[in-house]
Amino acid sequence: MSRRHPGEATAAWLLMTPALAGLLLFLLLPFGLAVVLSFSNLRMASPLPLEFVGFSNYALAFSETGLLRALLNNLLFALVVVPVQTALGLGLALLLNRPLAGRAVFRTLFFLPVVFPLSLVAVVWVLIFAPGPDGLLNAALGLLTLGAWEPRDFLNDPFWALPAVMLTSIWQGAGFQMVVLLAGLQAIPRQLYEAAAVDGASRWRQFLHVTLPGLRNPLVFVVIVTTILSFRVFDQVRIMTRGGPQEASNTVIHEMVRTAFDQGHVAMGAAMSVVFFLVILGIALIQRRLLRQRGEIA
């Protein structure tokens, strides 16, 4: 068939080449390198010769570094942030999907945190989480609980550090979910609601039988994206807690950067990259399965 379209094939390769080169050079090649390096003893600060060390980096990464704890933290992070953030995004989208004056303004306001770079968000929230009764959050909680709240040093409290990072992330990301879900809501034909109303469905039933099924694809989309982002958390941790205290807020990426960059243990960092990739791949595969199982709906 392509024989009949020589011009098209040439043009296609012409168009494809820059992107292809970029993907190969900056994604595939380094990933291959990560795999190779993860079996070596490469250190950034070592003049010693390179050696093959087998799987010892993987073994050590799990036994001696904070990787395992970091993975668990990421998992916990995802388990909390994904549902909460999605529910919040959905709630906001539902609120904004009605003909209210000032919808666009509210939408912009809720989306505003999304445009905030995480490095900035982290710095601002460090202040919000300031310890002592004068800290913004402590003071607010004190006010809300009529003084019953014991002020704490959130970022340095092994119990609170991870929730603090979660809260920051939820605040920053809910607007994104909202926009995607709002677009999804607006794509649901109004007539479906009208049909349901004529059929005698209450608002709640309409939500269950029209809104939720209609939002299935956008919901899957935001859940997947948020899950993957949950495993990529780095900036907040680096700036707010540096993984502490006691690894309580450490994350995979943070551990990886700390190992490879701060301590120069590149090979072990590479091993962590590979582990991290496998985790993400697992999530992506589960996503594909879920999508395919009921993919015929559209």
């Binding site: 003893n41 250190r43 950034m44 600060a45 070592s46 003049p47 010693l48 050590l60 001696e64 300031a130 310890p131 002592g132 040093d153 340095n156 409290d157 092994p158 540096r242 502490g244 205290p245 006691q246 690894e247 309580a248 960059f261 701060d262 301590q263 120069g264």
Partner: protein
């Protein structure tokens, strides 16, 4: 005819110097910039490119640049990294080139810190002083005994009791600032002297020495337990705003020479400089600060050395010392220093360095890992982890690092 080179023209003799320095306090940065200007005033043919690098990622930057072959000619680095850089072969030894007169003038702590396996690789223009800042009024109100020199310090028990006394009159009971808001190197620098005073250390300093048995030995564990108890009892201010002492929220602050300008401005004559407490027989304190070294790839090592020599002139040493409060690195400058000279308010720091109370950090390329492991252990202990376990974990990590690097054979020497 503009392209015909003039024999004595500036173009022919243009020499340039690329410098990386850490982005410290504002006065410090201004002073270094002024020093460069003065240097260039003397040597107009010299071009100087100065890059400020944030402290947080300094070592990473150096390593990355080394990897890419993009190190500058003249490099400032925090003392403890010297051994690692030297082992990796990034630095040129300075011994042969350094004028004997200048070398003699250096404080012994400077030489000790800059030496790795018989070579001098780095020279600081100032050293650091670590001590306790006290609020005279509050200490007196609590009836505290005021030590009067490095030989006469509070014992651990005395210090504990003092904290409780002070806490009695304090609204929130937090009376001590350990600068917990600091990150990175601070913890090893500020608290390893406590281990040493108690008889422990970060690592066994004998050749081939490891951390196990030392860092997690009973002495070290006891020292950390003491620190943990201060925190646990609520005596320590988290100091998030870096102003606990200056605002008078605490009576005592672990700190160093760099705190002086701010604290002096805030407390005036109420400001007291005190030695650290001792946990064993004698007090031990920290030393070491930023140093200058010439990289192996420097294009013009003579010029780089000339710049270091320029910075070591007494008036330049004093200028920097005045800017950042650091202890002048040369004896001549110490003598002239208002702060550190006899009768000066910071005399204690100079004495600690000159009289051997200060101990350099372990002079091994493993130091960054040691420091990081200890800092993590410290954080864990701060948050309630058992010192034995936290320190044990750190010791194992350090030992593995040392073994992985085969006790740091002298490969750079061979490769030279």
């Amino acid at each position: 005819g503009g392209d015909v080179a003039q024999p004595n023209g500036p173009a022919g003799d243009q020499r340039s110097l690329e410098i990386w320095a850490h982005a410290g306090r504002e006065e410090e940065r201004r002073t270094l910039e002024a020093q460069i200007d003065r240097f260039r005033a003397e040597r107009p043919e010299v071009r100087v490119d100065l890059t400020w690098i944030p402290e947080g990622s300094y070592n990473g930057q150096v390593q990355a640049a080394a990897l890419a072959g993009r190190l500058p000619d003249l490099l400032e680095f925090d003392g403890p990294y010297l051994y690692s850089y030297a082992w990796q072969g990034h630095l040129k030894p300075l011994d042969e080139r350094l004028p004997e007169r200048l070398r003699k003038d250096l404080l012994p702590s400077i030489v000790a810190q800059g030496t790795y396996r018989d070579g001098l690789y780095g020279i600081g223009t100032f050293d650091s002083g670590l001590g306790l800042w006290g609020n005279r009024a509050r200490l007196q109100a609590a009836g505290a005994r005021i030590p009067d020199g490095p030989g006469d310090v509070w014992s651990g028990d005395e210090f504990d009791a003092l904290l409780e006394h002070l806490a009695h009159d304090d609204p929130d009971g937090q009376v001590l600032d350990l600068k917990l808001n600091y990150t990175g190197e601070w913890f090893s620098y500020a608290f390893s002297p406590l281990l040493q005073s108690a008889g422990g250390d970060l690592v066994d300093r004998a050749p081939g020495g490891l951390a196990s048995g030392t860092l997690d030995g009973p002495e070290s564990v006891a020292a950390m337990a003491a620190v943990q108890s201060w925190i646990r009892r609520g005596r320590v201010d988290p100091n998030l705003d870096d102003a606990a002492f200056a605002q008078g929220r605490v009576a005592l602050a672990w700190g160093g020479h760099w705190n002086f300008p701010g604290y002096h401005a805030a407390l005036g004559d109420d400001l007291l400089l005190l030695p650290l407490p001792r946990l064993g027989e004698t007090m031990v304190t920290g030393q070491g600060s930023w140093q200058w070294g010439i990289t192996r790839r420097a294009r013009d090592p003579e010029l780089a050395l000339a710049f270091i020599a320029f910075l070591l002139r007494p008036e330049e040493v004093l200028a920097m010392s005045e800017a950042n409060g650091g202890v002048p690195a040369t004896r001549s400058a110490v003598q002239k220093s208002q702060a550190y000279g006899p009768g000066g308010p910071l005399r204690l720091f100079a004495r600690q360095l000159e009289e051997g109370y200060a101990r350099p950090r372990p002079r091994t390329p493993a130091y960054p890992v040691i420091s990081d492991a200890f800092a993590r252990a410290f954080q864990d202990i701060r948050h309630g982890a058992e010192p034995v376990q936290a320190l044990g974990w750190a010791a194992r990590r350090i030992d593995r690092e040392i073994r992985d690097n085969r006790h740091y054979p002298d490969v750079a020497e061979a490769a030279r």
